[in-house]
Point group: C3
Chain length 266, copies 3
Amino acid sequence: MNSKFHSLVITLLSDFGDVYPASMKGVILGIDPDANIVDITHSIPRHDVRAGAFILMTAAKYFPSGTVHIAVVDPGVGTKRRAIAIRAVSRNGDTHYFIGPDNGLLIPAARAAGEIEVYDISNKSLFLRNISGTFHGRDIFAPVGAHMLRGLRIEEVGGRILDFRDLDFGTGKKKCDSIYCEVIYIDSFGNIITNFSGKSLDFQPGDELQIEDIRVIFSSSYGFCEKGDPVALVGSHGFLEIAVNMGNAAKMFDKKQGDEIMIEHL
Amino acid sequence: MNSKFHSLVITLLSDFGDVYPASMKGVILGIDPDANIVDITHSIPRHDVRAGAFILMTAAKYFPSGTVHIAVVDPGVGTKRRAIAIRAVSRNGDTHYFIGPDNGLLIPAARAAGEIEVYDISNKSLFLRNISGTFHGRDIFAPVGAHMLRGLRIEEVGGRILDFRDLDFGTGKKKCDSIYCEVIYIDSFGNIITNFSGKSLDFQPGDELQIEDIRVIFSSSYGFCEKGDPVALVGSHGFLEIAVNMGNAAKMFDKKQGDEIMIEHL
Amino acid sequence: MNSKFHSLVITLLSDFGDVYPASMKGVILGIDPDANIVDITHSIPRHDVRAGAFILMTAAKYFPSGTVHIAVVDPGVGTKRRAIAIRAVSRNGDTHYFIGPDNGLLIPAARAAGEIEVYDISNKSLFLRNISGTFHGRDIFAPVGAHMLRGLRIEEVGGRILDFRDLDFGTGKKKCDSIYCEVIYIDSFGNIITNFSGKSLDFQPGDELQIEDIRVIFSSSYGFCEKGDPVALVGSHGFLEIAVNMGNAAKMFDKKQGDEIMIEHL
């Protein structure tokens, strides 16, 4: 039982909604009864690979070295898109594994976790015996992830590849006193999360910003403005975020994922 | 601690929604701190025993031998309906346990898992000391399930019975080139799941079907048709399913659970 | 590894909705890979401290001695409100720990669990290295909870305090044949839960009550009245509750959290 000396965490992320993830968990526990399964979410908007990639990127980095992350937002399930497994190793040696479809979903999280190597999942002896055309999460990704959790080397899932599908959120741009960035996620509270990193910001709490035709104060937290007031801040994921205290910023600013935003520093 | 050599998985399914399942988990962990608790779902439509029975049947079979499944969709809680425990043994010796109300909820899943024996839960020494009139999930089913997970023999929960309430989804019928079947579940995406087993189908991918007054292509997966197009396929649960790529089939075909569907092979 | 002889359960409650709790779990598992994490709920209405306090109080008591409860409904995150840890010891020696903001959220649950001692969380060596202004659940409460789960003494998180923020649901009043009480929670089915304890009631099943201008039967369970009929009962949490069989009592009686209700015994 030397596995007990390692972390045995496996995370799941998908757009499956309710009900369907349970059978993935059954499959995982059949292979590794000690697996500690954590749901990141199963409520990614259906087929929204970019939203899934963003959430995986922000959550995965908080898990311990050795964690296996299975993520499935997979509009191409049952067609010829490849299944991939990634090993990401950080400078201090922390290792994360990512398993899912080859559509870019895993890439931002894996790159954030370190240097990546990508493998084509082709070793069918690891799959469930009957592969459905619609649920590779259960039939392929879950068993492969569970075997890796038990110590299977990533080289045994298939050959290494270099031509995987990439996905990049960009970084936004600064020009004079303005920031040009993109909405990469709207959370369930209507907070607008942009692709502009908090590390590149030189705003101070109390600074005034002009976002579209609305005046917004930059702050360190939600709690410093009045109910219904908009506020800009560096969100918990580390990106510039626009929120409304007890309200919905996506509605106030009429923004959706993929939209551009211009923010002027007054 | 020889229990560690067995699987210690306990699943929960209910129509309790949010909040209420947590106290069931507390009760289970108080009896067996090593229990590995997995939620199948707590969002079964309220009091919909047939929907609960279908989801339990499709999910339970993916869990390892030894799993205890607690399921509670229980319009009759607090009245005189019995509580039951079932042992289901498959041909190769795999054993699953099912615990819940005697209203048919457990039966399709248990029969799918093997030969069944049904016991009336009557050993009150296993229950919580104070039994509420409204929450047997927490006060009766959770402690009984946790004791069974720790190795309590099913014969100790009460006497064996033969007159349990049955529930059968039927199988649909083939007549000439048409299939007559029933909607047994509408999932959260609006996919229509019928009671016609994929094993009895002789359609090939690309075949044309007439469903009500809509022309539908039979396919092996969602990914092969255009956005908004209907598609028929064998779903991940093994039954004939009608879906709309990125849309809602239940709305397009105006179907709800229990409705009949006629499918003509053109 | 003597921790294995104790319960290693840690519960989470918040108003974070989907997605955000996962990174708290990652942080906890990075500190204690054996933590058994149970979600009580993450769907508390946003910033509703009283609703969170009620749910925590009703759920926490079912968990085993030694459980650490992290609860975060925290309108003041990032401002100067304190973070606190509580040890509650019952008469028979059962111990529960509570971690969260100093806004009253933890108090009813902690008092229900026994005699309480409250500590100001100020030992920054326990926190994540980078503290965001908006997500102390992940950056402060999760790591402190995980360290306590691993055996850190509560005295090491900071100094004991006596001036914590209190919160009290009251108890309602009896006057002649009437009960005057308050709505403390509306659950997702629209059931109205009051602050009147079932232990103080002297109604018998079958008794008639007048609630506002509607005649209601007192019953021991939901199952004894017709579909659409209102019913009063002692709910699973131990308080007087008004429900509608297969319907929504909050709508029928036009009540929301904080409203008063007068119940006349006919």
